[in-house]
């Protein structure tokens, strides 16, 4: 789902360079367009702004006054979520997402390349099956896997509940189809002549893939890796079912999504502080990588 949009972005930035400047639009139309953009910006940002302001408000006023600009403000909520061990949830999410990505992407790249380039029987069916597999509902995995984990534990003593592996294994399975699909589309877009000439120069098919095509696919690999990483940081259902409480494995969505009230105290401030702590790096991540993806694709588009 990323790929068509990215190729368009690349194409469009080329177009933009060549497009002759049009005369200034009438003032009213211009104003309306700016207003439209302002609506989009406000839509995307206001819950985040609310979250950030609420995380800074302390004392009873935070619970009774809807005006987010009214203080007192402090960093107390942040201190409190660290006291509750939020740093461990951040670490767990990072480890689970990184390991998932590191396993998923190389495996998916091989399959994507095979589906895009190598002679295979039933290629169309395999691609269609991959596409269908992207629809897989995680809830269909939760119940049987939970039971399989229990039985594995009874049989071998290996306990996958409350472990990183217990999360990474299904995450890889759930992210593989989309990654394969993105990478296959990407490999298919790389000119075949590049490989052919490498083969004429005496490269084996594997060398042609590994030395010549794989480096060219870096932007596509990046796009698939980002989506996989974001999926794994976002996933709640499996993490909540397989690792609900243990701070050694509990991920951020579970920490925040199941944050419990302690006594009668309303934890709004702590929840928002934790939300800010995980959202800011993710937002920065998305913004930085967005540019990188566009740049990579633009250069590819110019070359191709």
């Amino acid at each position: 789902m990323t790929t068509p949009e990215e190729t368009v972005r690349a194409r469009e930035s080329v177009q933009e360079a060549h497009r002759p400047r049009r005369g200034a639009p009438p003032a009213l139309a211009g104003l309306l367009k700016l207003l439209g953009l302002a609506v989009v910006l406000l839509w995307c940002l206001f819950p985040f702004i609310w979250m950030a302001m609420t995380s800074l408000r302390t004392g009873s006023v935070a619970l009774t006054d809807p005006n987010i600009l009214r203080g007192p403000f402090s960093l107390d909520n942040y201190d409190q979520v660290f006291d509750l061990g939020f740093q461990f949830a951040l670490r767990n999410s990072l480890i689970v997402a990184a390991v998932t990505t590191l396993i998923c992407i190389p495996v998916a790249a091989l399959a994507g390349y095979a589906l895009a380039r190598l002679p295979l029987r039933g290629r169309f069916l395999l691609l269609a099956a991959t596409l269908v597999a992207t629809l897989f509902p995680p809830v269909a995995l939760v119940n049987p896997l939970y039971q399989m984990y229990l039985e594995l534990n009874a049989l071998t003593g290996i306990n996958l509940l409350n472990s990183y592996a217990g999360l990474v294994i299904p995450y890889v399975a759930l992210t593989l189809p989309l990654s394969i699909f993105i990478l296959a589309t990407f490999f298919a877009g790389i000119p075949r002549e590049i490989e052919e000439s490498a083969k004429v120069d005496g490269a084996t098919p594997f060398q042609a893939f590994w030395r010549v095509v794989a480096p060219l696919a870096a932007p596509g690999v990046g796009a698939a890796a980002i989506l996989t990483f974001v999926y794994a940081t976002n996933e709640f259902l499996l993490a909540f079912s397989f690792a609900p409480r243990d701070l050694n494995v509990q991920t951020v969505p579970v920490f925040i999504g199941t944050f419990e009230r302690v006594g009668y105290e309303n934890p709004i401030g702590q929840i928002m502080a934790a939300s800010v702590l995980v959202s800011v790096p993710l937002i920065v991540f998305a913004l930085v990588l967005q540019r990188r993806i566009v740049a990579g694709l633009t250069s590819g588009a110019v070359k191709g």
Partner: protein
């Protein structure tokens, strides 16, 4: 299909003028595919069959008793199941149609604007990248009576989290907030593939704004629309995070995913849980396949065609 124009399948070794060493392409293809497909078969496909098998048992701890289709019959006479199915249907229809309309609006706005387009395109990723469970908590507290942010904005006095209908409206709003921008990105990509000349030509022929939208934009945007609707519909049908974070296992918001998961740990009845997740699986896949059979050939064909080239 691609093989017709490519290799005939004979081993590469020793064929033709240049001798290649190492793997032939055909063997390499099989070897490259194996890890992915083996992994998915063991970790995704096998559990589905395992769930079907387990759904035929009544399970307590490590003792199980074969009961045939009793668990499915139990679902058919369980008001909780119908309630979950209805909640899922309401949520899916409402959120997907709102996301489509708002997403299309955003895409048109972003497509029209030149100033500030880069900024908007960056910022539109913000709702997408914030984890759903986190967004759910933020929205839950924005709706909460104390401090009552949403009520203050609307000048209303609604008990969003207690009233079932209003809390459904709440999770729909939260989901629309999070994914309308994603729909906008998909549709924007579609808009940018429409050649500008078409609009210019229509303008010359005297077509108005609305007419251009109906007869150029919408038809040519169709593939992008179908893809966006596919992803959104399937995602809405399997939704867990918003419903659970807003209301736990309470019937007011329980979707099929929430209801199936409830019998795993909260009230362990593993046989029934497996029956419910099997039913959910079938529903989601059937709806997904209905979409894909309409446009899958187009999506897959694109890649398959490039292979042939």
């Amino acid at each position: 299909m691609a093989t017709a124009t490519r290799d005939t399948g004979t081993p590469e070794r020793g064929r033709g003028a240049h001798i290649r060493h190492g793997l032939g392409e055909r063997a390499m293809g099989r070897i490259f595919l194996t890890p992915s497909f083996a992994f998915m078969a063991v970790i995704a496909l096998f559990p589905v069959f395992y769930a079907v098998l387990m759904s035929l048992y009544r399970i307590r701890g490590f003792t199980r008793e074969f009961v045939g289709i009793d668990n499915y019959l139990q679902a058919l006479s369980d008001p909780g199941f119908y309630n979950a199915a209805l909640n899922t249907l309401v949520f899916t229809v409402a959120s997907v149609s709102l996301e489509f309309v708002i997403g299309l609006g955003f895409a048109l706005i972003m497509h029209q604007a030149f100033v500030g387009r880069g900024l908007t395109r960056a910022v539109i990723l913000v709702p997408w990248v914030i984890p759903t469970a986190v967004a759910a908590q933020v929205w839950r507290y924005m709706f909460d009576h104390n401090p009552g942010f949403v009520n203050a904005v609307l000048g209303a006095d609604i008990n969003w989290l207690r009233d079932p209908a209003w809390s459904m409206a709440g999770i729909i709003a939260a989901d629309v907030w999070k994914t309308a921008p994603f729909v906008a990105l998909l549709l924007l990509a579609g808009l940018q593939t429409i050649p500008r000349d078409y609009y210019e030509a229509a303008k010359v022929d005297g077509a108005g704004v609305l007419q251009r939208f109906w007869s150029i934009t919408l038809p040519l945007l169709r593939p992008a629309i179908v893809v966006a609707l596919l992803f959104r519909t399937v995602d809405a049908l399997r939704m867990f995070d918003f419903a659970y974070v807003f209301a736990g296992y309470s019937n007011s918001l329980a979707t099929l995913s929430v209801y199936a998961q409830r019998f795993l740990v909260a009230e362990p009845q593993l046989g029934y849980a497996n029956a419910l997740s099997t039913v959910t699986f079938v529903i989601v896949m059937l709806v997904g396949l209905a979409f894909i059979s309409r446009m899958g050939r187009h999506m897959v064909g694109e890649t398959a065609r490039e292979v042939k080239r």
